[in-house]
Amino acid sequence: MNAMTAAFTSNSKDGLVTFEMGGEVIAVSTRVLREVIEPPRITPVPLADIHSPGLMNNRGVVLPVADLRPLFGMEPKPFDSDTRIMVMQLDLDAGPLTVGVIAEMVHAVITLDAETVQSVPELGSRWPAYSVTGIGRWNGRFVHVVDVERLFETHLGLGSGHDGDEA
């Protein structure tokens, strides 16, 4: 594991787990991560939203599978030997949600040096608004720190009183 020692003092007191999608490195708080699993068979849900294409059986519980790539404007990539499902337990305005998020590759649990974390430029960002809390550096690459709960609330229609979504 490529652990770093510096403390990261953003909104996350815990460590971060880094994973890869569409060639970018993304980090989410380890607080929301329950486990990382090899992709099980995913049952497609016809007519479902592109961000939530299917269902999976996780230890006898049916969980939705979320694909965040379309949100970030990334091209989907077929599952390969690096693909993992990150089972996340999210505490959302609309209630708790356990969901499997598709990751093209999961790297490591890290901590980021606060000084290396910068705020996100408003313009020219490919990232959906309000979801990236900062950009840091790790192993010579940019790491986008994503507030995944905020992302589900504002972009997947799971906030309170917010019924907006895939317009």
């Binding site: 099980p40 068979r41 049952t43 497609p44 849900v45 016809p46 007519l47 479902a48 939203d49 961000h51 939530s52 269902l55 999976m56 059986n57 006898g60 519980v61 049916v62 969980l63 939705p64 979320a66 609309a94 209630g95 949600l97 356990t98 969901v99 997947l156 229609g157 799971l158």
Partner: protein, 688 residues
């Protein structure tokens, strides 16, 4: 003293009596002249009083005594059944139920209701009579016999022996209570002349002296079943006053009385002791009654619903594990293993059925309160109507029934309050003076339908539309189907009530009805003909947890529909071959059937299989054919709810886990049909 079996009998008996009493009172409201009903109410009250007193419900017995007196007056023609009497009686009934359930309502309520009952029967609250009666069941009477003994003077009904009574047995019971110190004297003053003497009749009265230790309630209980047809007086006898009189009558009595005087302190202790064990059964029977009140009529044990849910969850997991095991076994091909798997399968299915049966409970469990509500509504609104209830034996998951009560109360209120016209308006419209509200429960495939129909003014779709546009619920140019217009009534904040009454129509509630029903995976449909009436139909699944499904394949995936909704499976007719339209109509078995091609609905790519099948399913009033690739078979479907990420797709009511561990979606046929905008043949007929 009172064994468990006796208590069980008491519990069942009072339960039936209470039901019969309420039914009798409500029926009397419609047929006040029916003397048979009056007698029935009187009998129910009388038996309740007797049983209640026997099991230590003294407050209950005392109260019922006055209640009963009111109906005795009616029975003897001294008073008439008036709406006022029924209304007070129903309140009195509520008090009885509360007491039986072990609640402790305000003591003043008893007196107030007694007063109201006396007023309703045209009697001044009879002070002397009432006080005497109150004493009859006063538990304190037994606790504080300030005297040294009791003098019981009885004169039993003359026809006691004709009706099968045995005076000797009664006297023996009294002697048993009083013990060796009991003194009996016959009173033969009623004996007629010899030519008028009928050997089958009882003319003899008795005066009985009992020691103070004999509990008053016990003495009275001996005569409980003859109480209203005999004279009985039970007076405490002061030790100093009695000897003289007694000595005169019987010289042998004097020493005994003096013994009693000496023994007095000891007797007081005996009374206190006798009281203590009596509390045990009283409490126990109170608990028993509470249980009876909450459990369904057919159920004998009270189990918390969480525990039932727990069992159901585990049974669900067991069924899934069993199907995985069966799947593995079929690959291994070991005859010994197959045998074990079959055994487990049988057990799992049996367990599932039993668990489901525990959870099912008939609709009749909540209809009592609707009858009562109808009565209260009639008096509040002044509208005369009959509530007709059909299909009370229809069974539903208990948790569903419990949650249905409030929505149905709301719909019933609306039907009476807004649906039914005032009498004058009905007569002017050529309708019968009395309105009718029907509550009907019936099975329909895997669902239960509960409908509430009134024969009132009906709904005006144009008015609803205008109102919805006014309130911004829909856009000016929005095109809506008939049922969609009526469904607007259930939209939050929508109310068509011209005037707000205290009963309903504040615009809150109706959307709560919708939310509640939807939380039970059900739906509501409204249909109405202007001037003729309105029907609200609630469609609810039989159970929330598990169902027998039909598993089929479409493309690479498997789906399931409730097997109870499946009415047939046929080969795809030649006429449908090669078609690509999502929906179409085809003639099947000499009937036109709407067809949905699931490959098209689900946007499945690739070649159509060689021999697709058509699954005929019931969707509301119509039959719809679903074209699928292949039938897999029936499957125990443990229903798992969809997360908010998918629950907006209402064509799926949930998902389930298959034997191989894969997930399959459960189709909601009614929603699927609705989403595809199919006009089914029968709906077309209705719209025409």
């Amino acid at each position: 003293m009172i064994d468990a079996e006796t208590q069980e009998v008491f519990r069942q008996e009072t339960e039936a009596l209470i039901e019969s009493l309420q039914a009798g009172l409500l029926a009397l409201n419609d047929r006040p002249e029916d003397i048979g009903l009056v007698s029935q109410v009187f009998r129910d009250l009388h038996t309740l009083k007797g049983t209640g007193a026997m099991f230590g419900y003294t407050r209950l017995a005392e109260f019922i005594h006055d209640f009963e007196a009111a109906f005795d007056a009616v029975r003897s023609g001294e008073a008439n059944v008036s709406p006022q009497l029924i209304s007070v009686s129903l309140q009195a009934y509520d008090l009885i139920v509360a007491l039986l359930e072990g609640e402790d309502p305000e003591q003043s309520l008893d007196a107030a209701l007694k007063h109201a009952l006396a007023e309703a029967t045209g009697k001044v609250p009879a002070a002397a009579d009432g006080a005497d009666v109150a004493g009859a069941c006063d538990p304190n009477g037994a606790a504080t016999p300030a005297a040294d003994g009791w003098r019981l003077t009885i004169s039993l009904p003359e026809d006691l022996m004709e009706i099968g009574g045995n005076p000797v047995a009664l006297l023996e019971e009294v002697i048993e209570i009083g013990g060796a110190q009991t003194v009996l004297r016959a009173d033969v003053s009623r004996l007629p002349a010899l030519d008028a003497f009928d050997p089958a009749r009882l003319y003899t009265g008795w005066t009985i002296e009992l020691p103070a230790a004999a509990p008053e309630a016990d003495i009275r209980d001996v005569f409980m079943f003859h109480e209203d047809r005999m004279t009985l007086s039970l007076e405490p006898v002061a030790g100093n006053a009695a000897p003289g009189a007694a000595a005169e009558a019987s010289p042998e009595l004097a020493p005994e009385v003096s013994t009693a005087v000496v023994a007095a302190p000891k007797a007081a202790v005996a009374v206190a002791e006798a009281q203590t064990p009596a509390q045990g059964p009283t409490k126990a029977s109170a608990g028993g009654k509470r249980a009876a009140a909450t459990a369904a009529a057919s159920s004998q044990m009270r189990v918390s619903s969480e525990r039932l849910d727990d069992i159901m969850d585990r049974v669900g997991e067991l069924v899934i594990a069993e199907s995985r095991l069966a799947d593995l076994a079929s690959k291994l091909n070991l005859p010994e293993l197959d045998e074990v798997v079959e055994g487990i399968q049988r057990l799992a299915l049996g367990l599932r059925d039993t668990t489901m049966a525990i959870r099912l409970s008939p609709v009749s469990g909540i209809t009592g309160r609707f009858r009562r509500l109808a009565h209260d509504l009639a008096s509040k609104t002044g509208k005369a109507f009959d509530l007709v209830i059909e299909g009370e034996e229809t069974e539903l998951d208990k948790s569903v029934i419990d949650k249905l009560s409030d929505p149905l109360v709301h719909i019933l209120r609306n039907a009476v309050d807004h649906g039914l016209e005032p009498t004058a308006e009905r007569v002017a419209a050529g309708k019968p003076e009395r309105g009718t509200v029907r509550l009907v429960a019936r099975y329909s495939g895997a669902d239960v339908l509960i409908s509430v129909t009134d024969d009132g003014r009906g709904l005006d779709p144009d008015f609803i539309r205008r109102r919805a546009i006014e309130r911004g619920v829909i856009a000016q140019d929005q095109v809506l189907k008939r049922h969609e217009v009526f469904a607007l009534l259930l939209a939050p904040g929508f109310s068509t009530a011209e005037t707000v009454t205290d009963l309903s129509g504040r615009g809150v509630g109706t959307d709560v009805v919708k939310t509640t029903v939807e939380s039970l995976r059900g739906s509501i449909d409204i249909d109405s003909v202007l001037g003729q009436g309105t029907t609200f139909t609630l469609r609810l699944p039989l159970t929330l947890a598990i169902m027998e499904g039909l598993l089929f394949q479409v493309g690479s995936e498997r789906y399931t529909v409730p097997l109870a909704a499946v009415e047939g499976i046929v080969e795809q007719p030649e006429a449908l071959r090669g078609g690509t339209a999502t929906s179409t109509v085809v003639e099947l078995r000499e009937r036109l059937v709407s067809i949905l091609r699931l490959r098209q609905v689900f946007r499945v790519e690739g070649e159509e299989p060689a021999f697709p099948k058509v699954v005929l399913v019931r969707a509301g009033d119509a039959q719809v054919g679903l074209v699928v690739d292949e039938i897999i078979g029936s499957f125990q479907t443990v229903i798992k709810h969809l997360s908010p990420l998918h629950s907006r797709l209402d064509i799926f009511s949930g998902a389930t886990i298959l034997g191989n561990g894969n997930v399959a979606l459960i189709l909601d046929v009614a929603q699927l049909v609705r989403s595809q905008n199919i006009t089914t043949p029968s709906q077309r007929e209705r719209a025409a």
